[in-house]
Chain length 696, copies 2
């Protein structure tokens, strides 16, 4: 059976609508859960208000930014409007806007459901762990289903309406650029609040986490939503779109050179089946009899993986797709699982690294840091090797098909790794929802039994996060390699148009490539530093404010009845700080890319992207894993090991956790997006760099 464009369109639209259906069903299901506790709904409203207020202000800033970019695209991309076809500029600008809007929507939907699900999950915990788990998970699944549905629908529409690679890249750039800033802004907000609340509350005053006396406690919960839910939603929306875009651009180039519609069909078909598998996985997710939430989450991930492999094999047989490409996709999926398991090893508290760091903390915080940094460095190898091997395999599997298929194979491996992204987002969004639920349970005085349940759910969220992060970073790595291929095919399309010679390689021995390589490698480090300094500056401001409140509001420290801290002030500080800091880092990486391109032309950009990928992967893996490791080492000690809560060992571990917070939740996960954005900027500016450059 041969599938045509109409068939694909129908399939993608049907699956997207189906996933929206699942999302809506879950959304209503979550809303219909009981809520009686007045205190919880009161605080929950605070969180909701704070989250929406931040999102509104963030989107206002970003709308202005996007407006400027739209204007620039209209004027200059893919070619200056007076040199090329103005229609192309308009299409790209529209696609860009479409990308930003959908990306913003993804964040908005996430916040909407997460700020309800947190309350419901807290109350459900009074009835036991299973119902509470289900509320948390289905809340996350609303986001998972709608984000992936939106991205599939978006890419499909852009393709069908334009049949233009530039438009697809423009759409992807819209999604990425918004994600970059949303992730950075949310990441700074959440860690500002988290660190400040911990530092004054836990460390200085010795009051428990989520104690309502702490003025930063609501800001902390708002942060979970705007950083982990909205930011992450935008981020994975972007990764998913980028991996499809990279594959699509190459498939369209193959189509032009006579490869036919088959490869394009395959992309949409596999993406649809990935979403379908995720939907099945999400619907079937339940906690087993033993009641282990980690197992439930991982179990449904593995089920999704298997379903996807089977469905795509069936489709490949049915529609006579190329088995080699299916093989590349399967390799990506498989290696994703391996990377996930490796990440888990370095952050799971039953494994050696976490235990070692917990033990080293006995000798003081310096040893917590040193051992954590060391294991963070070690954790790089399995993932890097995994990405390297999967790229090598995918390339070699697909190379025999014909010219251009090798790189397409890598792109399909990336899509394979991201195929179950619907499931990954559901798992990821589950984390902050139950984290919030834990806070609400504490503030709503639901008692120790309930807290124990929410603690367990929260801890499962942390463990699963390591695996999903491994997946996300691995997939980003492959996607970006594929984007390098997309960049080359864009350059060559432009070269053909300009009557220039085609580029077939980026040679390391070319000093322009090497120049780009070194500069590109420095960018993720600078980017991370800027974000972390942002958190650092902001947190110092907020700590001052918390101190002021405890000093000036009489009876607050003692917990006098009726005395409430000024929560809004803390939310305000986090908001203003985040808005101030979110633009520079992202802008720096975009501006440097443009500079390098205009200095060294496409060869320098080839090196630049490569350096950026390599150092980006290195730092993202290091920071995500060491951050997760410190977090879990602290939790391991809090569970009564190595001296337990309140011991000096615990204090050392808290230092590690505080350092790890912006590592794993601000800088680490933003690097992916930074690298993606830079790759897309390069691709959409390929013609410009080819036309205008200083050297070479």
């Amino acid at each position: 059976m041969i599938i045509d464009e109409t068939g694909i369109l129908v399939l993608a639209i049907v699956v997207s609508l189906l996933s929206f259906g699942v999302a809506m069903y879950f959304y209503h299901w979550v809303r219909l859960q009981q809520s009686h506790n007045k205190r919880i709904s009161e605080i929950g409203k605070y969180i909701q208000k704070g989250s929406n207020a931040f999102l509104k202000r963030e989107y206002t800033v970003l709308a202005r930014f996007a407006g400027v970019v739209t204007l620039l695209i209209l004027l200059f991309l893919p070619q200056p409007i007076w040199m090329g076809d103005p229609k192309k500029n308009i299409i790209m600008a529209l696609a860009y806007i479409f990308g930003t809007v959908l990306s913003a929507l993804a964040g908005k939907i996430g916040i909407m459901v997460a700020t309800i699900a947190n309350m419901k999950a807290a109350e459900a915990a009074t009835k036991g762990i299973k119902p509470s788990f289900l509320v948390g998970f289905r809340g996350g699944a609303v986001m998972g289903m709608s984000v992936v549905g939106t991205s599939l629908l978006g890419v499909t529409l852009v393709y069908v309406l334009t049949h233009d690679a530039s438009a697809v890249l423009g759409f992807s750039f819209g999604a990425s650029s918004l994600a970059l800033f949303a992730k950075a802004g949310g990441g700074i907000f959440t860690k500002t609040a988290d660190i400040s609340a911990d530092l004054v509350g836990k460390v200085e005053l010795g009051i428990p986490e989520d104690d309502p006396r702490n003025p930063a406690v609501i800001a902390d919960n708002v942060g979970d939503n705007v950083g982990d839910v909205a930011g992450m939603g935008a981020d994975l929306f972007d990764s998913n779109v980028a991996s499809m875009a990279a594959a699509l651009v190459m498939a369209m180039a193959l189509d032009k050179s006579g490869g036919g519609f088959l490869n394009i069909a395959m992309i949409f078909c596999y993406a649809s089946l990935g979403l379908l598998s995720s939907a099945i996985g999400v619907i079937s997710a339940r906690m087993g009899k033993k009641g282990d939430p980690t197992k439930a989450l991982n179990g449904s991930t593995y089920i999704t993986t298997v379903i996807f492999a089977i469905l795509t094999a069936a489709a490949t047989w049915l529609f006579q797709f190329r088995w080699r490409i299916w093989g590349a996709t399967a390799v990506g999926l498989l290696v994703g699982v391996v990377i996930g398991i490796a990440s888990d090893y370095f952050t799971n508290d039953s494994k050696k690294p976490v235990r070692y760091v917990a033990k080293a903390s006995k000798s003081g915080p310096a040893f917590t840091i040193l051992s954590g940094v060391s294991y963070g460095f070690l954790s790089i190898l399995p993932s890097m090797a995994g990405i390297a091997i999967s790229a090598l395999l995918a390339y070699n599997i697909c190379a025999p098909i014909g010219e251009g298929y090798a790189m397409f194979g890598i792109a399909m491996a990336a899509m394979g790794m991201l195929s179950i992204v619907g499931m990954i987002i559901s798992n990821d969004a589950y984390g902050p929802i139950v984290d919030n639920a834990r806070g609400l349970a504490e503030m709503g005085d639901l008692g120790d039994e309930v807290l124990k349940i929410t603690d367990e759910l929260d801890s499962a969220g942390n463990t699963v996060k390591a695996i999903t992060k491994g997946f996300a970073i691995g997939a980003a790595g492959l996607t970006i390699i594929a984007l390098l291929g997309a960049f080359m095919s864009e350059v060559n399309a432009a070269a053909v148009e300009k009557g220039l010679e085609k580029i077939t390689s980026f040679d390391i021995m070319n000093p322009l490539v090497f120049f780009g390589l070194l500069i590109g490698a420095a960018i993720p480090a600078i980017f991370s530093a800027m974000l972390m300094l942002g958190v650092d500056r902001n947190a110092q401001r907020m700590v001052d404010e918390i101190h002021r409140q405890f000093r000036e509001i009489l009876g607050l420290k003692e917990g006098k009845q009726g005395v409430v801290p000024e929560y809004e002030k803390c939310i305000d500080i986090a908001t203003i700080g985040a808005l101030k800091e979110l633009i520079p880092a992202g802008l720096m990486s975009i501006v440097v890319t443009i500079l390098v391109g205009f200095i060294g032309g496409v060869q320098a950009i080839g090196g630049f992207l490569t350096g950026n990928i390599v150092s980006g992967l290195l730092l993202a893996l290091f920071m995500s894993n060491s951050g997760g490791l410190w977090d879990n080492a602290k939790k391991y000690i809090e569970a009564g090991n190595e001296g337990g809560k309140g011991s000096d060992t615990h204090k050392s571990a808290v230092v590690g956790d505080t350092v790890g917070d912006p590592f794993k939740d601000t800088a680490g996960p933003s690097i992916n997006t930074q690298v993606t954005v830079v790759s897309l900027v390069s691709s959409i500016m390929a013609t410009m760099f080819l036309t205008f450059h200083l050297f070479g």
Copy 2:
């Protein structure tokens, strides 16, 4: 005037002998300085004994290792002995042994003079800062002059005797492989002792640095010698040899393809003039009237730079060398200065980064770490950009000369940056000598006035270190790029011999290159982690031992007359630990290189080396600079700022310093050597990788 081989030989030998003369003169001058204080000479003897004992045991281990490597070279390199010309194998093996012996000698000479100069400098401090400075500096200069003299003589002899590129590379590999392990072993020893002494002494018991009651205090001083003096000597010996080797291999290839002897002559001539300039700089070094030791050290560095530029210009004119290549050399030198200044900015306590970190420490150790990591990340850009730009300029300056000259230009830029290495080593070795002198002054009860002087000298050593480290890392970066060129020319020499096609590029889009790239990038991180975990494990053992001594030796804590701790036990722990940990990390990097070569052939190795350079530079700069920054932030606070000594802010800064210690003195500076070794392994195994490989 045209210079021939005899002329070059005479020049190099005369300058080498001259530098040995200067070294010997300074050595005797230092020995003839007064020494009356019995206590100081007693403790000094302890340090001497401990240092020599460690060196002996370390060299015993390394001799066995070198023996095995020699055997392997004899059997397999450059080709399996049964396949190629056995004479070549014998020459390479001999050159390898020669390299290891000279490298070991460099370390030995350093220890010999440093363990005398420290006592003399301590006593000279009773007469004022100027005489004490001169003793410290001339002690360092003995090492500077003899190390560089030895390396120049060594390379000259190997070249004149063999005229064989493989032998030169074998010699360089001998120097590097020994340096790798000496640096790692010394680095682990010194930081084990330093951290443990500080942790128990300063932090737990609140006794001053270098207090003779502290059982680890002698081990700490021994560490300064075996880590900073011997290790660093071997390291810079290696960098210097490697930069000459890389240039020489390319010049020999140019000679073969008709370029003539001129380029070879230029290498030896410039190296000789660099040594000569350093000798002049070293002899003329004096403290000015205002008595600022930092100015005196930097001043003589700048003088050396200017003299070198003038002398080489004169030689270029006289011997009709190519001005373009002189230009590349000058670019290297200039960019070295710029990188040094940038490193200084990030570690100088009168600049923003150190002040910011000191201030952030008020909020707790987590902020010390976060802000230090952030500035460490930021510090990467200027150096990376400097290396990138100098490589680009050197390439473009020399490319018009003809084929092959562009890469040769980069090699000459590296030589330019390292030309003043004699001066750099003198400055670098000055540091641990006055650091030791400070310890001896404290333990010999020379009084507060003297301590103030030695403190000032010590602090100058730290500041200058940042600049010399910047130089060293920058030069290593360029050297390794040049070694990539050397690797390619070795591969092509082998390819011609085997009748295979020449390689002209390493294409990033080739999946084998990309595969190598990702694996290569992971290696420096793994290597650093292994070394740091070594320090971590070792320090924990030593802390236990110190605790035991304070517990079991009655009267020790109280400082009862006549009660002495068991210094040897601590030295023993550091020694045994260092010997155990020094082999695995270095071996890992060599083994992985060989694996990648046999898996992916020369293309994978091209990528591997590139990834290794990029991530090696990134991590080396990050760790060296953040470590130096934390050290100086602590000192800045100790000088009475932000709360001063003993405040909570100070305690936070001590945590930063402890983390920074293995960053800047164990892992950071070893990475250079790791990358160099891996490059050389690749070059000497080029034929093997070309012949035997799994893919490609």
